[in-house]
Subunit: 129 residues, 2 copies
DNA sequence: GAATTGTTCTACACTTCATAGAACAAAATT
DNA sequence: AATTTTGTTCTATGAAGTGTAGAACAATTC
């Protein structure tokens, strides 16, 4: 599982880590039940501060993706059903609406969006890069 | 076109304005060719600083949604075709992938995502709230 | 001509981000 | 049993971002 940090990016480092870990899990590089590296080891590996990795882990825990076991480690959570009305589902829904609204405003059509969705699913599910 | 600012939100005010304007355009409350209020008038209306609205407008211009005519006003751009490979298209694509990856990790299924997409489209196109 | 426009500048307070170092107690390893 | 590693917590610092505030400018609009 390779993670690439771009220090010059306008995206915060802890968010880059968070997003790439999520994409790694989605691609199957990391599986449910797997443990993430310790914050110290991961930080040394990435060349960033320990606290930055720690922030990313807590972000992932807040989003229901990992569970941090005190004094032990961070474990990737099992997939839930994502029941409708749950905070996580509503958050996803809201984020999705924001992106789609912008896509529509920029002139993207319904079929184009459906095709885009299909391509992304294909990419995430079968393209392990 | 009513915009509601939540000062306590963890989302920056200028982003709240940006997102709600985009959603307003997607819903048809604002149409292509329409002018946005002057930064001073809008700021007074929202109860925020002029510079905050100005930042939102420049954010919208950077995203290709409005065009700021110096000394005149901000006009909503016409929809382009959003040709593949354009910076705007790639940005949308990237944002979409980020959200979808998280949805998958949380256990959302393909059909659920397609249904979600359809619901959002329906909401944006016909529900003018 | 007067008012309004977006732009630009300085200024201040506050928050966030990233780094750094230290110390702690619990867990894992040897 | 002793050592190492673990996440947590604390202080601290510098840089960047956010939001507000006021002023001035030139161009547009009325």
């Amino acid at each position: 599982m390779i993670i690439q940090i771009e220090p010059q990016s306008d995206v915060a480092i802890y968010k880059q880590i968070t997003n790439q870990l999520i994409e790694g899990i989605a691609r199957g590089h990391l599986r449910h039940g797997d443990s993430l590296p310790s914050v110290r080891a991961f930080a040394a590996d990435l060349g960033v501060n320990m606290h930055t990795v720690n922030k990313s882990y807590h972000e992932l825990e807040k989003r229901g993706i990992i569970k941090i076991v005190p004094k032990s480690g961070a474990v990737i959570e099992a997939q839930t059903k994502l029941l409708q009305g749950s905070p996580h589902a509503e958050r996803i829904q809201h984020e999705l609406k924001t992106v789609i609204a912008e896509a529509l405003v920029l002139g993207m059509k319904t079929e184009q969006l459906e095709q885009e969705l299909a391509m992304i699913m294909e990419d995430l599910k079968h393209n392990k890069q």
